[in-house]
Subunit: 150 residues, 2 copies
DNA sequence: GGTAAATAAGATAATTAATGTCTTATTTAT
DNA sequence: ATAAATAAGACATTAATTATCTTATTTACC
């Protein structure tokens, strides 16, 4: 019951972009190096983020990614669920038919509550808040090392 | 980010035993059939529950399992964590060294809060509560079908 | 337009975790 | 002593995750 690497990488990428500001194009390479994400892995992650309309991908030289919505308008929950799918915690919440009683099942109700709380907590915080405070993702506008990964 | 089958089975098994009452010996076969758990899989799960002092295993003819503590004294969280390990949600919570700033990282703080909430919710409900109310685990003292799984 | 830089897209491989099964050993009621 | 019941651990299968590789496409710049 843990966030996947892909989910973790997506969060890092999004926080990094949010820190740079909405619409600011950043090269994939810079993101990889700064947020410590394997280059090809980020490519796949970015595709999903783009499909979900969270970023825009620009190809070609001077290409890269930029944040599509305002950082205030994207929650941590959104980013996480784009990557790992909707959070359910327990199978019987996802597929009510897997459990005959669902609605009146005491165990079911606990998982339902836990799930709602979790989604609420992750949904209450925006990329803007995450980016404006100090975080593990190094964002200072320093020079990028020239050791490419690609 | 979902409870494993093993975790789900463990909960079913424990709720079933709790419904029967502390100290009441129930055959493994009965539990398997009623809670719909593959027999050999339950064997492994039971070993972990026993190691964690949640049940006692009796071998031999007329053997089976019974609840060691009072149902009031076992939380859903305990059962779940015996099976899947301590819940962390995010790697950086489990291993603070995986993230340089940990304490002051804004992302870290959200996961920490979410984790605490989740563990609190699961920790607040006991097997006694789960067993006394209606649940998906069929517990009525009916006859067991004679079609053995073993 | 041509070229090179940058990312896309999808296939594939490697790794790890989860699930389930099988075999042999041990315990215990009768 | 025997048979019933579970233990313990090895093994197999499946699925998910993570990562990489190859080929294709886009686009800035000459």
């Amino acid at each position: 019951m843990r966030l996947t690497r892909a989910g973790e990488y997506a969060v890092r990428c999004m926080v990094y972009l949010a820190h740079k500001g909405q619409g600011v194009l950043i090269s994939k390479q810079e993101i990889c190096e700064r947020a410590d994400i394997p280059s090809h892995f980020l490519a796949k992650i970015a595709q999903e983020l783009a499909k979900a309309q969270l970023i825009i991908i620009r190809q070609g030289p001077k290409g890269g990614y930029y944040l599509l919505p305002q950082p205030e308008d994207v929650s941590l929950l959104q980013v996480v669920e784009v990557m790992i799918g909707e959070i359910f915690l327990n199978d019987c919440i996802d597929r009510p038919q897997s459990c005959t009683l669902s609605k009146s099942c005491s165990v079911h109700r606990v998982w339902d509550k836990a799930r709602n709380q979790l989604r609420e907590t992750l949904g209450a915080v925006s990329l803007a808040e995450l980016a404006e405070k100090e975080s593990c993702i190094p964002v200072f506008p320093a020079s990028i090392s020239s050791s490419s990964q690609e």
